[in-house]
């Protein structure tokens, strides 16, 4: 044979090769089809290892969704605000275990208003025990600063313990991965979970603060304390993460403290002149409504805080708090 004829294929060879190529393509296609995962990668985390926070909310009671108590004494205003919603007995049943999540983010003194007021936290603990007949109350947060320092220097640890609560500080083994199915940011993210695994009810307590990044820090932002890991990366999309946290956490009751409002230099403040006395305390089962009212105490509009509209759109609550017919009271 010469060189040219060497390169020629006869019909049999052509068909054989075409057949082999066809089989290869079919096999590759079939294997790809079988391996194709339309849901995408699970980032190495199996479903059964992920956790989901329980829904701690209680049945809606028209006309008793939000109360606003005016007065300078937090103990009196919180008592009144809860009473107006039907009393703590509506929220805590005898023998239940209650978790209180205050904003204990910073190791700063109570005078600065950067953290939940210790007397307020203690009063809610007392109410849970004395009238709610709770079996156990825990007070817990995953603060930004060193947890022990935060609970000590903010006064929350001592006040809560004195009222009979168990203070739970965050430890690595208390965090578990979670995914918010409807969320965009909370995907396989560690949250402070274990203290909430076996509780029956959840109460959030937050002060009203100016926040350099978010505009305002109130009850919805308070759930940021449940995030673990390098949670500061979510500051890039602060409105979405706050809305997703509100979707993820369904508390029994939230208490928004506007007795003294941090109007500038938040969220840490630093000077008592960053605070303005507003003598207002809000109790609600609707965190969107509470925060929508709370922002008015910071001279903000609902539209100034995009996370409120996002949470409302997600069905968490309403920004039009007046439709809830909040119950007002003034305590001298």
């Amino acid at each position: 044979m010469n060189e040219q004829s060497n390169k020629k294929l006869n019909r049999r060879q052509l068909l054989t090769r075409a057949g082999k190529a066809g089989i290869s393509i079919a096999v590759a296609g079939a294997v790809s089809y079988l391996l194709y995962d339309a849901k995408g990668p699970k980032a190495g985390v199996e479903d059964e290892k992920r956790v989901t926070l329980k829904d701690f909310s209680i049945q809606h009671r028209p006309g008793q969704t939000m109360s606003i108590a005016k007065g300078p004494d937090r103990v009196k205003t919180v008592d009144k605000a809860i009473e107006l919603l039907g009393g703590i007995e509506r929220f805590v049943r005898p023998g239940e275990t209650v978790a209180i999540k205050p904003n204990a983010a910073f190791a700063s003194p109570p005078i600065l208003g950067a953290t939940a007021n210790p007397e307020l936290v203690a009063e809610v603990v007392r109410l849970c025990y004395s009238r709610g007949k709770a079996k156990k109350v825990i007070v817990t947060d995953n603060p930004i600063n060193d947890p022990a320092s935060c609970f000590t220097l903010s006064g929350i640890g001592k006040a809560a313990s004195a009222a009979g609560a168990e203070v739970v500080l965050p430890k690595a083994h208390l965090f578990k991965l979670t995914t918010l199915p409807e969320g965009r940011l909370i995907k396989n993210w560690p949250i402070f979970f274990e203290p909430f695994r076996k509780i029956d009810k959840l109460i959030g307590i937050a002060p009203i603060k100016n926040h350099h990044r978010a505009g305002a820090s109130m009850t919805m932002k308070n759930w940021y304390g449940l995030l673990g890991g390098r949670r500061n990366i979510f500051h890039q999309d602060i409105n979405t993460i706050i809305a997703e946290l509100a979707m993820m956490v369904r508390p029994t009751l939230i208490i928004l403290d506007g007795t003294e409002v941090m109007i500038t230099n938040g969220p840490t403040g630093g000077s008592i002149s960053d605070l303005r006395r507003a003598n207002t305390l809000i109790a609600s089962t609707d965190c969107v409504a509470a925060d929508s009212y709370g922002c008015t105490l910071l001279d903000l509009k609902v539209s100034d805080l995009p996370y409120l509209a996002k949470a409302e759109k997600a069905g968490v609550g309403t920004t039009d708090y007046e439709t809830l017919k909040p119950i007002f009271a003034t305590i001298s």
Binding site: N6, N10, A105, S108, H212, S217, N232, G270, S271, S273
Partner: protein, 338 residues
């Protein structure tokens, strides 16, 4: 059956093996990659995630801590050091205010009264890299009720706390209560820092001297390093407040490389205001013609002189605004000639 010659067959086999090898490598790559959670797909910039190794700061505390302890106090807990990547662990959402202004390191230390455990304070020493950066974060956070603190150029007391600038450092001393005894200790630490913490004695902020002194609200200066008045191109802008009658007016100055650059910035800022609803106002002052605007009922004036872009921001009274603008122009013209 015809056969393909050995040489061609070997070549085809080699090519096939190469292709299979490449496909295998791609497969392995995909397999490995799938375990990496790509957060950018969810709108998060992963470059912002701090690296663990940076948690161990090499920051050296620039003075002997024990030398700061005031009489009747002792150190409470360990000193803490933060860099730009973990500053949020200390001040959370306020971190960007510093990191966007040249922040380098933060050092903190608490002190507690030996006689009363409720009396304690925390010292924050922010190394901002330059005096200008330190002055910027000092100015924008300044409290409305501030009281001057003697013997320091940029310092004020506010309730329970003392804030001051010392060279490239912005320093806060925050007390746990508003007590005279505690503030005495705070003042003592401030004085010791002034003595013990060496800074560049030649550093200064020249622009502050360009503001007219008449009617100036004392110590009302601010420096916006970026995004002054919501306009991103308006950088390095100094402001000062003036009391004119019952009104307080804000004047601003920013120095650029030359007149051309100053005019370009002034023009783009005026256009920004007009795009957002400002309207050019008539004026009897020839120098300010085309530079005075009404912005939703308030007067804005933007002009240039030499390398300075300057003006008046959010004045209620046009006449008072123009008067102050004229004084400012004269003062800047003098500065240009100096």
């Amino acid at each position: 059956m015809g056969s393909v010659p050995g040489r061609a067959k070997r070549l085809e086999s080699a090519i096939s093996i190469c292709l299979l090898a490449i496909l295998s490598l791609i497969g392995v790559g995909v397999f490995i990659k799938q375990f990496n959670y790509n957060m950018s797909r969810y709108g998060i910039d992963t470059t912002a995630i701090p690296k663990l190794e940076t948690q161990n700061s090499k920051f050296e505390i620039p003075f002997e801590l024990s030398s700061l302890v005031p009489a009747g106090f002792e150190m409470l807990s360990k000193a803490e050091v933060y860099n730009s990547e973990n500053l949020y662990e200390k001040i959370n959402g306020k971190a960007p205010l510093y990191t966007e202004s040249g922040f380098e390191e933060l050092f903190t230390q608490r002190f507690i009264s030996t006689g009363d455990p409720n009396q304690w304070m925390e010292l924050y020493v922010y190394d901002m890299g330059t005096l200008r950066n330190a002055f910027s974060v000092y100015g924008v956070q300044k409290r409305a009720d501030s009281e001057a603190f003697p013997s320091m150029q940029f310092a004020y007391k506010s309730g329970n706390a003392l804030y001051f600038v010392h060279g490239k450092y912005y320093i806060e001393l925050v007390g746990s209560s508003e007590s005279d005894e505690l503030f005495k200790a705070i003042a003592e630490i401030a004085r010791k820092i002034g003595t013990n913490l060496a800074v560049d004695p030649n550093a200064g902020i020249a622009e502050l001297s360009f503001f007219p002194q008449e009617n100036l609200v004392p110590d009302s200066f601010k420096l916006y390093l970026v995004n002054a008045f919501g306009f991103e191109k308006l950088t390095n802008i100094f402001t000062a407040r003036y009391k004119v009658g019952n009104e307080t007016i804000t004047a601003f100055i920013g120095k650029r490389a030359d007149l051309k650059e100053a005019e370009a910035i002034a023009e783009s800022y005026r256009n920004f205001l007009i795009e957002n609803g400002a309207v050019i106002k008539s004026t009897t002052n020839k120098t300010l013609e085309g530079k005075v605007m009404d912005f939703y009922g308030e007067t804005e004036i933007v002009f240039t002189t030499g390398p300075f872009v300057a003006g008046i921001h959010e004045a209620e009274n046009q006449q008072a605004a123009e008067k102050l603008a004229e004084i400012l122009i004269n003062r800047l013209n003098s500065a240009n000639n100096e």
